[in-house]
């Protein structure tokens, strides 16, 4: 992961606090119980591997938010003409996301993945990128995946909810 900056350099970052407040105040889509099965052959294969390892598609491992269940307006960043796709993951204590590769980054052309925590790092808030764990970050830090198709996963073994904004930039076909 490459740290590329912090959103505090933007003129107005009030939306970050508003967004965090909104996410903490409500329930998102419960994954994987309420859907979210990855699409495509590779998505299917990863899903099956996870089930074979013992993960249950009927459990709740984390919650997801996107433009369909978030009211806070997320500003348009400069994307060099590329399209933007964003979502937010909320992990309550004990939640996790098994290690996986994002199938959408294979389907989208020249996809770049960004990872933006909405809170300062706390003990037990874990993000795994290949064999690396990202710690000691502060709210609004922007990290870019060195490889958008890298293996990654997350867990919250701490005492507070963990909220992260994820953005993918890609070229329309």
């Amino acid at each position: 992961m490459i740290k590329v900056g912090n959103l505090k350099t933007m003129t107005n970052t009030d939306w970050l606090d508003t967004l965090l407040k909104e996410v903490l105040s409500k329930e998102g889509l419960k994954r994987p119980k309420e859907g979210g099965k990855p699409e495509g052959k590779e998505g299917d294969a990863q899903w099956q591997k996870a089930i074979d390892a013992g993960y249950s598609p009927n459990d709740v491992y984390f919650q997801m938010f996107d433009k369909n269940n978030i009211e806070t307006e997320i500003p348009e960043f400069h994307t060099c003409g590329r399209s933007r796709h964003w979502w937010i993951t909320k992990m309550n204590p004990g939640n996790f996301m098994p290690m996986h590769v994002d199938p959408h980054t294979k389907q989208q052309k020249n996809a770049d993945r960004f990872w933006i925590p909405l809170q300062d790092w706390e003990h037990g808030h874990i993000f795994m990128y290949e064999n690396e764990s990202i710690c000691d970050y502060v709210k609004g830090d922007v990290y870019q995946y060195k490889d958008s198709q890298a293996l990654h996963g997350a867990a919250n073994i701490g005492l507070t909810p963990r909220v992260v904004l994820q953005i993918t930039l890609y070229e329309e076909e």
Binding site: P93, G94, F96, P98, G124, S133, C135, I157
Partner: protein
């Protein structure tokens, strides 16, 4: 965590097979039932320990659930002796205990500090994985991820009272061993 060395040869095949083929004591569920932790919380016994448990309960952890398996002197039918990297064990002076942890995919151990080590005199704690590192096998000590490692690698806790935790978000079982030594009072 301080790397001590690799002691893969010490791990007997039959020990590993036993842990792979059996599930241990369900934690923290069993701990709660065996020690009547809920009763203790209600009665206000063991105030410090219960305060710690209450904090985790408030965060949303369900202590009646299965978060991981444990093996120790109660259910591990082998005499492991004193591990070979422990060179300062003194018969009649030193006390010790071990724990073996088995995490299936999706199992976790919330971050914590082992409070008992605070009261143990001259406490030393060692951590060893019985399997090679795989992606998603997480051991966090303070803010450091311990990885990659090989089966048999031994690390010493620089501070036995340090905050640590574990999770398995990978695709295979994760088996780790912990040995604690202290001076008897």
């Amino acid at each position: 965590m301080k790397f001590i060395g690799n002691y893969r040869d010490w791990i007997q095949d039959e020990w590993l097979e036993f842990v792979k083929n059996n599930d241990g004591i369900e934690q923290p569920k069993a701990e709660f039932v065996d020690n009547d932790i809920e009763g203790a919380i209600e009665r206000g016994d063991r105030a410090e320990f219960c305060e710690f448990q209450k904090q985790y309960g408030s965060a949303g952890y369900d202590f009646k659930s299965l978060l991981y398996y444990i093996f120790d002197g109660r259910n591990f039918p082998f005499d492991i002796g004193i591990p070979p990297w422990v060179t300062d064990y003194k018969e009649g002076v030193s006390g010790s205990y071990f724990n073996l942890f088995k995490y299936k995919p999706g199992h976790i151990l919330p971050i914590h500090s082992d409070r008992v080590t605070k009261y143990e005199n001259n406490c030393k704690r060692y951590w060893m994985s019985w399997k090679d590192y795989e992606p998603g096998h997480i051991f966090i000590y303070d803010d450091r991820l311990i990885c990659p490692y090989k089966a048999g690698d031994v690390f010493e806790f620089e501070d036995p009272f340090a905050v640590h935790g574990a999770a398995n978000i990978g695709l295979s079982e994760r088996i780790t061993f912990q040995f604690t030594m202290y001076d008897e009072q």
